[in-house]
Symmetry: C3
Subunit: 320 residues, 3 copies
């Protein structure tokens, strides 16, 4: 099957989604990130992978945090970085979006990092860029957030080693979460035998079972004996309708407290993509507790984004 | 006659307008830009022309596109670039503007790139900066946009060679266009024998004929046998009154369609300063057609801005 | 007494306030800044003091001017700089602020420059950062603005030499001014024998005399025979209530005019932290006159900020 993320040799030239990527590509990203983490001071060394490469961060949707991590990742690899916050005005429709892209290509862009509120934006751009130019999806609508999912995979592998013996629970607002989708695809491909999602019915997309996950509506059942708990952020800003009675109610049933955490394996790790809503989806005692790996996730996030940028830039260069 | 853009030796020390600049200066800019274009990979090489030079982009009027091209141009020449978006608040009057400038001088600025909604802002700044500091106008009110005009000249010379045998038509909202004014002055100086402007009466400034242009209100007549068509952007945001019945009406009479384009010479080129209003001043079939040189304009724009920055910085340095 | 700004060896590891800093530390900052000023072209040389150091400018309160000077200072020392404008939303409370800080630490931050509208924000952050990470206060609420005070000290020493024989008058809105507080502490420590504050009663904090200053409500008396006049900015944006009848009234009584300036010593210098409200707290004839040292202050401000960044980074590195 044709995969727009791979070239004829099966190498990664865009990262748009974890869906449909073969295991060897996911492993390549994790291995390359591990090299950055292991080789001395990850964050204070300068690599040359992106020397002479012009990286454009196109943020059609604001995200200081994700934009900053991509900027740091690109600079750490000696790339030339320009960040543009582009207002998603009513006129910024498909055609105009492509005009913007073609203009930036004409200015010498080699790599686009794209954040957009509409699902499919990064795919659209990847379809229309010139040969030799890479696109990395930094989150598109409810669709995908592949670098977030890959940093979660890195974190799991770092703390748990092998995916093939793990029970992983993804907890919270699955319906609005591009992170959850990308996690499920990556976990499946990497061989995780049991993926659970725990959420109220109103925050689950229909047909989620078809992705091979086990659905739970009760935390006590869902967390039992899991090795990894991946909390999701409650996307208040995306909830137009009345999906929830209240955030207090949500916390009561789905917030991760020490009591609920005690149901998981004693050495279970707790992940969260940030920024956290303390007291809504996670209790501070858990967020700051010994099982939380939330801050290591941030550090690994830089390494994983470095790996993704370096790999797609290298493969595009070789094929130009 | 005294020209604030030239020093006593007749060298360019500020670029404020194409008006009154001698042909040798315009040609120097084009020739230097050509060197950047021709010497290998324009956009992925690092020149040293601005090493140790502190460039401040002062954007009192927002323009992501122009700001980005100046940033790229300065970085490509190894300059240190700071970009400031300064809100044109009601207090940002003459005196305060100069306080801002003097403060930035005291911080070590060597070169100001200025975009301002008021005509004459760049001239005012150039008049008051310390000896040795250069000012480049990146668009002031309805007055001038010299680097845009010079990249258009570069594009024309690149595709057509000699200016002395060309018929050039400038089409659209001439009244609100600083680009049109700057183009007309540059074309005249470079020896273009026939410059036409095509626009409805409501979008033409009075006395435009005094610039030596031929005025047309009808596209069929105006486009006949021209070598170059320079479309203007319909500046919706600048049209306070009712200059136009509607944009549909405008497109019908003045939008560049394949049918109207067929009236020009078969090898005529079509330019547009961007961003395009597709279906308003230009039809997509033309914008994406074989005669459009709109994306090369963007690439040449980086080279021309590099040339301007390098030239004024060099001449200011020599005279300090 | 424990001082969170010093390590066990008594070296500066954070700069939060000039209050309680020993004279040798203030002198170290001034001496190091003097080295940058004296060694060739301050603003166009590249030092290596911050090579490999990741500096984050966290501006929870907008200040283009201060942010730009810190960016320039860090770049001049070869630091890697990221600037974040963080909206002080209602949710950006204590806990969330620290989550932000811990996230940036996990991204590899070595040094935070913090501007915040709440007094004590920089202290709070310094208390919670990991060992080895420095915090520099770029202004917190009404509390302190130590780098501004230190550049004023540098300016005084540059023009007047010895602090121990000077009469210094601080004039204007002392109540809302973090600058005034920081100046008073620094001047006292550096041995200035007579510090005066001149302000209407409504713009003076209660108990100001306890800082060892002499209070005047009349300019004629207060300015008599002073060596240094430190004007304060009228913080219009901070005056919620009716502290002033009008700015015209303020100018009449407290605005620095040539007539009032004539009461000071003939060689008195006039300082202002900028941006100036001309015609409110200072007359243009004074602002642009021969006794004003307002633009040298800006240049020295870069050098002083360079010195502070270099010193805290060096001391943190040694103690890691």
């Amino acid at each position: 099957m044709y995969n727009p993320q791979l070239n004829a040799q099966g190498e990664l030239i865009h990262l748009l989604t974890t869906e449909g990527l073969p295991k060897r590509i996911l492993t390549q990203i994790l291995d390359q990130a591990a090299e950055y983490v292991e080789n001395g001071e990850l964050l204070n060394n300068k690599w040359q992978d992106l020397a002479g490469t012009s990286v454009f961060n196109l943020f059609f949707e604001n995200s200081t945090r994700t934009r900053t991590t991509f900027e740091l990742a690109a600079k750490r690899l000696s790339g030339d970085v320009s960040s543009l916050n582009i207002q998603a005005s009513s006129t910024a429709k498909g055609e105009t979006l492509l005009d913007t892209i073609h203009n930036l290509e004409a200015m010498g862009a080699n790599l686009f990092v794209v954040r957009h509120s509409e699902s499919g934006a990064a795919h659209l751009i990847a379809k229309h860029v010139k040969k030799g130019i890479a696109v990395v999806n930094a989150g598109d609508g409810r669709h995908a957030h592949p670098t977030q999912a890959m940093l979660d995979m890195f974190t799991i592998r770092h703390f748990k080693g092998d995916f093939t013996k793990l029970r992983v629970a993804i907890v919270g607002d699955v319906l609005h979460s591009r992170v959850a989708r990308s996690q499920i695809h990556a976990l499946s491909t990497l061989g995780c035998p049991e993926i659970r999602v725990i959420a109220p019915k109103t925050l689950l997309p229909t047909g989620i079972e078809q992705l091979g996950v086990h659905v739970y509506h009760d935390m006590a059942e869902g967390l039992k004996d899991v090795d990894v708990i991946a909390m999701l952020r409650l996307q208040n800003e995306r909830m137009a309708g009345a999906f929830l009675p209240s955030t207090q109610e949500f916390f009561k049933y789905y917030g991760l407290t020490p009591e609920k955490l005690a149901l998981a394996k004693p050495d279970a790790i707790v992940m969260h993509p940030g920024p956290m809503n303390r007291g809504v989806e996670i209790d501070s005692a858990v967020a700051d507790g010994p099982q939380a790996v939330i801050l290591p996730q941030v550090t690994f996030g830089i390494a994983v984004r470095m790996a993704v940028l370096a790999i797609v830039a290298r493969n595009q260069k070789a094929n130009k």
